[in-house]
Amino acid sequence: MMLNDHLMKGHYTITTRNNNISSKSETQSSSVAKPLDQKESELLKNLKLAFAEFSETEVSVSLDMVVLRVEPGRLLDICESLKSNPKFSFNYLSCITVVDYEEQEEIFEMVYHLVSIDYHHKLAMKVSLPSNSPVVPSIFKIWKSADWFEREAHDLFGIQFEGRENLPPLLLYEGFEGYPGRKSFPFHEYEEW
């Protein structure tokens, strides 16, 4: 019993929120995109201020997400300041996605989704790479969680990361030919394997 009490009370905190349970008729469903709330518009303002000097960096909004368009050369600087600037403090890199627009525009688009745990901000950062030489600086040094996401992008899309050469395959195996994530890679036709 002593031990139990010690463990339960001494080390455990349960934060309980006390919000009012709103009545059904007033609340609208939250799956519909709401207009940017105050938090997000503040982020938008701050971003515009902070990156005013980079003329090529462009801030926009899509649905409820603030989108930052970045040149590959600027990526490291911007990531650095997004993480360390106390106004943003994006301390958590959620996801790295590669979208293949090879056939339409001959580019690969890298999408970095960042979340700030302190302010609950969300941000999407987009970088376009030419499809004939998709090279982008690695942000592994800034957020460790980029590690496997970058290796995955390398595996499935053949993106090269500056500063991380000779990446071993993560999801695929040695000797797999081609980049299966790309649109040009065919789907499997049934055959004897």
């Binding site: 031990l3 929120r17 609340t27 995109a33 649905l63 958590y92 996801c95 745990i117 460790k144 395959p169």
Partner: protein, 374 residues
């Protein structure tokens, strides 16, 4: 001092490499871990994944939106309904569909039940990892109860395909409320029983307390989310900090650990089951009557654009990113799997622990390989 130096010089020469997996009873699926040990102490680990890489994301590009729900079922195959919900929420956000109240409540009830079932699986398997067989039998007994309810609602035990874009597939059976109430009574007792069986067990404490510690900042840097992050003392639960569906209407707590060790990660989950029961009770009390699905076209064609949604799956922050080009099939679907990111932190958790604890630390992250490899 000298002796120590000699020993370390000597043992440097014989760093032993141990291979675990891909077939290993405690790797929770097909996961391979290469461990270098110096004596009993782990020097370096190298995780190898991809033994279950099925190419789901690519297959999504060739299916219609409604068909993709089935593929999401099979990603995290322990928290199926949570995965379905994440995908449907993303499409609904893109198409600006308003989901009827009743459907939202049914979704929340089922998702939270699924969370309990998932944590029960963790509980059982973790007991097994620690060398106790009984917890598994208890955990699976509770899980079986939840699965029985799922079967009465969705028609399947695991792969439900029940949450659809715009609502749910069909209304719940007439005795749903009665059944859930009874189930909740059973589960409450079950959670207490499970808790008293393992949590304060002397040997279990000795094996899990202070093992595999990771600090909150480190965990965030590695992208760890969910119970594993909360065990390190970071209050981050997407249901609260970035609410989706109707979670903002419920009153529930976020269990938080203090040390970030294996026991904390275990106990946060046990507490979460209790909180989930609270949510279900509130949702059940308010369950409104009415429509169960919005009017959605048979073939969904969202407008061109992209959407990213975060949800809290039993394992953590499950993100779905969809790029639509206006056709009936998505241009790109990307899943941000929580286990994938959580697994990256294994390296830091395992550093300098003993080889015998490797299995326990791995088990405490609660990985599902279907989600890690996709």
């Amino acid at each position: 001092m000298q002796v120590h130096q000699q020993a370390s010089e000597h043992s440097d020469a014989i760093d032993l490499m141990i291979n675990m997996g891909p077939q290993h009873p405690s790797t929770h699926g097909v996961f391979r871990l290469v461990i270098w040990v110096d004596g009993e102490r782990i020097v370096k680990v190298e995780p190898h994944i991809g033994y279950l890489h099925r190419g789901s994301e690519k297959i999504c590009e060739s299916e219609q939106y409604n068909q993709i729900v089935t593929l999401f079922d099979r990603l995290d195959y322990v928290g199926n309904l949570n995965n379905e919900l994440a995908f449907c929420l993303a499409v609904e956000k893109l198409t600006e569909t308003v989901v009827p109240e009743r459907a939202e409540y049914i979704r929340v009830i089922l998702c939270e039940l699924n969370r309990i079932a998932s944590h029960m699986l963790f509980y059982g398997v973790y007991g097994l990892d620690a060398g106790a067989t009984t917890p598994m039998l208890y955990g699976f007994r509770e899980r079986e109860r939840v699965q029985e309810l799922f079967e009465s609602v969705t028609g399947a035990r695991m792969m439900h395909n029940y949450i659809r874009i715009g609502g749910v597939k069909e209304d719940v059976p007439a005795d749903f409320e009665k059944n859930v109430r009874k189930l909740l009574g059973d589960l409450k007792k079950g959670v207490e029983e499970c808790d008293s069986l393992l949590s304060q067990n002397e040997m279990f404490l000795a094996r899990t307390k202070g093992v595999g510690i990771i600090s909150g900042d480190d965990a965030l840097d590695y992208g760890v989310t969910g119970p594993a992050l909360r065990a390190s003392g970071v209050v981050e639960d997407v249901r609260v900090t970035d609410p989706y569906s109707i979670y903002e209407r419920f009153d529930f707590g976020i269990p938080v650990g203090s040390m970030g060790d294996c026991w904390d990660r275990y106990f946060v989950r046990v507490e979460e089951m209790r909180e989930s029961i609270k949510i279900i009770e509130q949702a059940l009390a308010e369950l409104p009557k009415g429509e169960i699905s919005a009017k959605v076209r048979r073939i969904v064609r969202p407008p061109a654009g992209d959407v990213f949604i975060r949800t809290e799956s039993p394992r953590g922050d499950l993100g779905v990113y969809i790029v639509s080009d206006g056709s009936d099939k998505p241009y790109r679907v990307k899943v941000r799997p929580p286990s994938f990111a959580n697994l990256q932190a294994l390296e830091s958790m395992l550093k300098d622990t003993y080889i015998a604890d490797a299995v326990l630390v791995l088990g405490s992250i609660d990985i599902i390989m279907g989600e890690v490899d996709r």
